[in-house]
Amino acid sequence: MKTIKFILIIFYVMINSVYAQDKGKIDNFKKFENSFLRNFKYPAQLQERCIPVLTLMVISFDQSGEINSLRFSDSAYPQFIAEVQRVREDIDFESLYMDLKSLGKETEKIIIPIQIDTGIFGECESGILQFDLINLYLFDNKPLKGKYFLYNKILSKILTARAIS
């Protein structure tokens, strides 16, 4: 009886530790995504016109985990890029790096698709135009080409309502 209990406890611990590992992997991306969305303030000029964010973020890290290069495809509006630069220090890129490391992909060029829909309650809701999709793959008018690691996308919706005065 004691042996069975002992075996069951071992199994329980094993299963939980595997689960915890999986949870760790998911958590790192979630940590990164949450820090991005928490700090990101939807640019007023884009929200006023119900213009969504649709872009490919291409990022690469150096050997010490610092960002080597960070760029956005042509479909990203300057106001979006400026906002990301503004909050860049507060975004948890370290967790992203940790997740890539756990996959053995930390030296690769990473693609993170980003889509943030927006809208003003009772007024408008953003939609994706043919124009956005065409520019999604262009970087300074040149199409994306080569070996990349396609990573999880950041997908969100940020709605607002006008205050009634």
């Binding site: 829909d117 956005d132 994306l144 996308k153």
Partner: protein
């Protein structure tokens, strides 16, 4: 002197080959694709991605279509599949190994687009990289889009 001329000739030919590799694929696509009438009439453009995987056993390329592909368009691309030479993607990158699958964006652009397409409820952009509900994740060779203004 002769060495210089030979080197120069080689680089010119090589340069042409680089350009021709991928443009061959693009021009085949443009030449053979017939945009389904129903989609054209409804003013619905096509934006999706093709996942192309080389099968060592059959020596063929297997095609998968992302969830934003309309069934009529899937049928059409499969119809012209044999006219598309995906080898050029690996040749262009000087890759002998064809283990890494290819992601090719497909774009059929229309001059007039139905409002339905840009409806906030549309899932075209969200499904660009989704295959049977799951996002493609991992290493891929991205190539320039095969695009036609229809």
């Amino acid at each position: 002197m002769i060495a210089v001329i030979v080197m120069w000739t080689n680089s010119v030919v090589y340069g042409q080959r680089i350009n021709n590799n991928l443009s061959k694929l693009q021009s085949s696509f443009v030449k053979y694709i017939r945009y389904p009438m129903d989609l054209e009439k409804a003013s619905i453009p096509s934006f999706f991605t093709l996942k192309v995987q080389y099968d060592e056993k059959t020596k063929q390329y297997n095609l998968e279509f992302s969830d934003s592909a309309h069934p009529l368009m899937i049928k059409e691309v499969l119809r012209i599949k044999d006219k598309l030479d995906f080898n050029v993607v690996y040749d262009d990158l000087n890759m002998e190994n064809r283990d890494t699958p290819i992601i090719i964006p497909i774009e059929i652009r229309l001059a007039r687009v139905s409002r339905e397409f840009s409806n906030p409820k549309s899932k075209v952009s969200q499904d660009l990289y989704n295959f049977k509900g799951k996002q493609a994740f991992g290493e891929f060779i991205f190539t320039p889009p095969l695009s036609v203004s229809w």
